[in-house]
Every structure is written in structure tokens, then in C-alpha cells.
């Protein structure tokens, strides 16, 4: 009688022990699954930060683009203006010279055809 009671106690102790081990294993699997989810959240956070960084760079570049175009146009216009001023101030003497050259005609017969 005592023996059988002792054995049942042992058996139930064993069962309980197994139960606890099973539970521990279940918790372990659950924890592993949590790894996936937590990783996902962390990555999404990281991605969000990076994306924001990129977007602000994009915005900055857009602003720069407009500024650059304006500046380039302004500089070009100034240079064209200077060009025209140069032209106006330098053309005088040259114009007269070309006029003279066009009107100054010296007809000469071909050197091989000259008879002295």
C-alpha cells in the first residue's frame, strides 16, 4: 500500500516535471517568433529614419536646382550685356576700316598677262 502510493507520487512528479519542460519549450518557440516581429519593428523604424533623411535631401536638391538655374541665367544675361557693351564701344574704328577696304578697289591684270 505504501509502495503503490509512493509510486503514484513519483509518476505524478515525473509528469509534472515533463509538463514544466514542455511549457518551457513552448515559451521558447513563442520567443523565437517574437524575434521576427521585433526585428520587423526595429527595421521599419530604421527605414523610416533613412527615408526621411533621403526625402529632405531630395527637397534640398529641388530648391538648389531652382536657385542654380536662376543664378546661371542671371550670370549669363550679365555676360551678354557686357558683350554688347564691348561691341558698341569697339566697333567704331573697325567699321570705318572695313568700309574703306570694300570701297578701295585696285584693279590689276593677271601678272602673267602683263605686257610691258
Amino acid at each position: 500500500m505504501l509502495q503503490s502510493r509512493g509510486i503514484t507520487d513519483l509518476i505524478s512528479a515525473e509528469k509534472e516535471a515533463q509538463g514544466r519542460i514542455e511549457e518551457a519549450r513552448k515559451r521558447k518557440n513563442k520567443r523565437l517568433k517574437e524575434a521576427q516581429n521585433e526585428a520587423k519593428t526595429e527595421i521599419e523604424h530604421f527605414k523610416g529614419d533613412r527615408d526621411q533623411r533621403y526625402k529632405s535631401l531630395e527637397q534640398q536638391q529641388l530648391g538648389n536646382r531652382n536657385q542654380m538655374t536662376e543664378e546661371s541665367n542671371r550670370t549669363t544675361q550679365v555676360q551678354i550685356g557686357d558683350l554688347k557693351d564691348q561691341y558698341e564701344s569697339n566697333k567704331g574704328a573697325l567699321l570705318e576700316r572695313i568700309l574703306t577696304l570694300v570701297c578701295d578697289i585696285k584693279p590689276e591684270s593677271h601678272i602673267n598677262a602683263r605686257i610691258d
Binding site: 520567443r31 527595421i43 530604421f46 536646382r65 570694300v102 591684270s109
Partner: protein, 226 residues
């Protein structure tokens, strides 16, 4: 007979304790392993994805940089081109200004007569043909007719050859020209264009380097001059 009741109970208790202890150890082991594997898996996943994300955004940021460089280059090119265009327009305007000043055939008659007769004789010297047809502006018809005999005389004197000149009565040069004549020989197969415009074209073209330098200054980027 064997063990007493108390001994048996004690032994069984011991065995139960042992079982419980072993189980507790096992559970601890499992839990430690769980944490370890959790951390390994999580950091593996995170770094794997991190690398991909970093690669992706680095590439996109490089594209932005590239776009900026392309735009910069495009702007520089466009600017250079507009400046060149402006220069070209100045030179064209310059030529036109000169051409307008060459339109003096009605204003300075004596000067025009001298030039016209020189153009005629120069044309004759160039062609050296016995039969010539001259084409002029309709307004100049009378004037050219009067200048032809003198031209023939000068030609005969220098070249010692006979020459026959016809003045085209049907075809005339455009009224838009500022002056001068065209000469034809060999049944209109050889043509000499001795208009004032033609002279301006040739002279202007030959002088272009000088014109550019005088109007706009020397080019400091130029390396070769021969």
C-alpha cells in the same frame, strides 16, 4: 525485513526532489537557450534588412548627386551656347551696319561712279575673255552703259587684246543690292560676281578673326595661333 516505512518515504521524497531539480535545471537551460537564440535571430534579421536598406538609399542618394551634376553641366552648356549666340548676333548686326553704310549709290554719286568703273575693269581683268556680258541693277543701266567704253579702252591698253561687252537688257540685279555688277563669259558659263555685297562678304569673312578680337577682346583660353 528491509527498509522501514520512514526510510521508504524518505527515499521517495529524495527521488521526487531529484526529479523536480532536474526538471528545473532543464527549464533553466531551455530558457537561457531561448534568450540566446532570440537575440541571434533578431540581430540576424535586423542586420540583413539593414544592409539592404542602406544599399537602397545610398544608391538613391547617389542618383540625386548625379542629377545635380548633370544639371550643373547642362546649365553651363546652355549658358555657353547663349553667349556664343549673342556674339554671333552681334557680328551679324555689325555686318548689316556696314552694308547699310555701303548703300551710297544715290547719296555719293561721284564715289559710286569711281567704284563702279573699277569693279567693271576688275571683272574684265579677272575673266580675260573676248566676249563679256554685264548684268547690273536696273537703276544703274544708263550709268554702266556710259562707263563701258572707258573700261574697254583701259583693258585694251593693259592687256593688248580686243574685247566685246554686251549689257544685259532683260535680266537685272536685285534692287536690294547696294551696287556693283555681275560679269558673264562663255555663254554665261563663267560668272564673276563683282557686287559691293560680294566684296563685303569676302572681306568680312577673311577678317573674321580680327573682327572677333577687336570687338570682343582676345580669347585668354586660346593656346595655338598658327
Amino acid at each position: 525485513m528491509g527498509l522501514s516505512e520512514a526510510d521508504v518515504t524518505k527515499q521517495i521524497q529524495q527521488m521526487i526532489s531529484f526529479i523536480q531539480q532536474e526538471a528545473a535545471e532543464k527549464v533553466e537551460e531551455i530558457e537561457a537557450k531561448a534568450e540566446e537564440e532570440f537575440n541571434i535571430e533578431k540581430s540576424r534579421l535586423v542586420s540583413q534588412q539593414r544592409i539592404k536598406i542602406i544599399e537602397y538609399y545610398d544608391k538613391k542618394e547617389k542618383q540625386i548627386e548625379l542629377q545635380q551634376k548633370v544639371q550643373h553641366s547642362n546649365l553651363a552648356n546652355a549658358s555657353r551656347l547663349s553667349i556664343l549666340k549673342a556674339r554671333d548676333e552681334c557680328i551679324e548686326a555689325f555686318k548689316e551696319e556696314i552694308r547699310k553704310k555701303l548703300d551710297f549709290s544715290k547719296v555719293d554719286r561721284s564715289k559710286y561712279i569711281i567704284i563702279l568703273s573699277n569693279l567693271i575693269i576688275q571683272g574684265l581683268y579677272t575673266l580675260m575673255e573676248p566676249i563679256i556680258t554685264i548684268r547690273c541693277r536696273q537703276d544703274d543701266y544708263g550709268l554702266v552703259q556710259r562707263l563701258i567704253p572707258d573700261a574697254i579702252r583701259r583693258y585694251k591698253q593693259t592687256v593688248k587684246k580686243d574685247i566685246e561687252i554686251h549689257l544685259d537688257q532683260k535680266n537685272f540685279l536685285s534692287e536690294k543690292l547696294t551696287g556693283g555688277i555681275e560679269l558673264y563669259a562663255m555663254n554665261d558659263k563663267i560668272k564673276v560676281s563683282n557686287t559691293i555685297e560680294a566684296r563685303l562678304d569676302i572681306i568680312f569673312h577673311q577678317m573674321l578673326p580680327e573682327i572677333r578680337e577687336t570687338l570682343f577682346g582676345t580669347n585668354h583660353n586660346r593656346k595655338y595661333y598658327d
